[in-house]
Symmetry: C2
Subunit: 287 residues, 2 copies
């Protein structure tokens, strides 16, 4: 068995292969340019291998993951030049007609990677939340990626803004949704400095923790995962985790039972490899 | 094949049987008293039948639906005398040791009923939201009931209160969560009259529609169901539906694609039979 994986991000594409036994064997990374520039480089990489039984494709989104839809396999909407409405899965299938494909979002793949080999190893469900330049969420339930009409867009959930927070929010759609209030750019514009330049005891972190905890409360109430795993640049602020857990406890007010919070709200274990690991596992699942 | 179903509500228990071909064949309803009073009547009903291959039990909650838990099958928390921590599934299994059991919440069963035979017939996913004396939500994804650490408690999601709404909310845990602001008792206390006594053009309904639409936005973003189905007493106000759809559109601001809203946010098709229908189907699935 030889399977390939692609983590198609807004900044870079990571491509890798595995035989399913020895971890990630080969990997390259290339900048995300236009499809005309990026796709040939991607084909060049995978063409090296004699035959790939399956390829997993995990893309930035929103993407059309609904197999019943006419535009299944396309990127729906993005400011990245050339990628809007681009049928990325169709292009892959045309080049590799005898290969099986898995197709999902980058964050769903990361959730799957963390469930199978990372911070949620041994469980059947988890939510992965990446907090960086944006906020994205992936969901695994019953050991499979949650799929309804489309994929979740947890980062845009409508949350309550604190009365003392007058920042208008960065989201071009909803202004002060979760991403609009709590992603990296919101921290920078609200406090005048990038998050990693703020001291660990800055008041910015209590506010950030309260917003992320509110998101966790709604995640626990609506999706009831066995674990919530945080990734992304903002989540590297280790001081956030005890504050998120404390705020979660206060906001949930004892209503539903969760596992012990130290085991419930945790940091990613696979780091930046969560997405590529997950998408290789999803590819292997096709066989 | 003969299967039984129980919809254990806070006010009444509905018990029914079916052979899986001819719909609900037998049914009784009894008031919810204490377990000591109610359970013997329930046994008496099912004992009439020679052998039941499976019984589905859909209970008011929160209940412990996690098979890995020591208290699996119990009601966790309820103000109903005698039912708190009562092992309702254990009591059923002790009385019918040779029968297969399905166990879930009343609202999950209703979601399943609507998916298989009601307003979401032919789809693979739906969310059922009942708005009455409380707000409860059931979730089906990939044609199965969503199950993580526990069951969803969508009715308690934290939502944004409108600045002009000074009502403090009825929820004993969160005050102004969705249930606290939008269930029947909140309407009554805010406006001084029960909802069904308010005229269809009363301002209460625009506020109600805005809160329910906000819930639908978060449901679409977090669970991405193919359809959202409303049941319960408050949802009988037909004027709410166009207002919820309009408000949903405004609050979602075009961010994610959904089916046409007339098909996306709909009224229950099975009415008060959604729960008992769903739990009989879940029982039959055990075989």
């Amino acid at each position: 068995m030889l399977v390939g994986g692609i983590e198609a991000g807004g900044t870079k594409f990571v491509c890798a292969v595995t035989d399913g036994k020895n971890g990630i064997q080969e990997r390259i990374s290339m900048p995300t340019e236009t499809p005309e520039q990026t796709m040939p480089r991607l084909f060049e990489y995978f063409d090296q291998f004699d035959h790939l039984d399956a390829i997993g494709l995990a893309s930035f989104g929103p993407i059309d993951v609904n197999p019943k839809s006419k535009t299944y396999g396309s990127i729906i909407d993005t400011p990245k030049a050339g990628w809007e409405h681009y049928d990325i899965l169709g292009a892959m299938k045309a080049h590799y007609p005898d290969t099986q494909f898995a197709f999902t979002t980058d964050v769903n793949a990361a959730a799957y990677g963390e469930l199978k080999m990372g911070a949620a190893d041994g469980l059947d469900s988890c939510v992965y939340l990446t907090v960086g330049t944006g906020i994205g969420g992936g969901v695994v339930e019953h050991s499979q990626i949650l799929q309804g009409y489309s994929h979740p867009e947890i980062g845009h959930m409508l949350i309550r803004q604190q009365p003392e927070d007058s920042y208008e929010g960065t989201c071009p759609y909803h202004h002060n949704c979760l991403e609009g209030l709590a992603a990296g750019p919101a921290i920078e514009r609200r406090w005048g400095k990038k998050g990693h330049l703020l001291p660990a005891d800055h008041q910015a972190w209590q506010m950030e923790a309260d917003y992320l905890a509110q998101a966790c409360v709604n995640i626990a109430l609506m999706l009831s995962p066995e674990r919530i795993v945080f990734g992304g640049g903002v989540s590297k602020q280790a001081q956030l985790f005890p504050m998120i857990r404390e705020s979660f406890k206060r906001q949930m007010a004892g209503y539903v039972q969760t596992p012990d919070l130290d085991d419930y709200i945790v940091h990613v274990a696979l780091g930046d490899d969560a997405g590529i690991t997950g998408v290789l596992l999803l590819a292997a699942d096709q066989l």
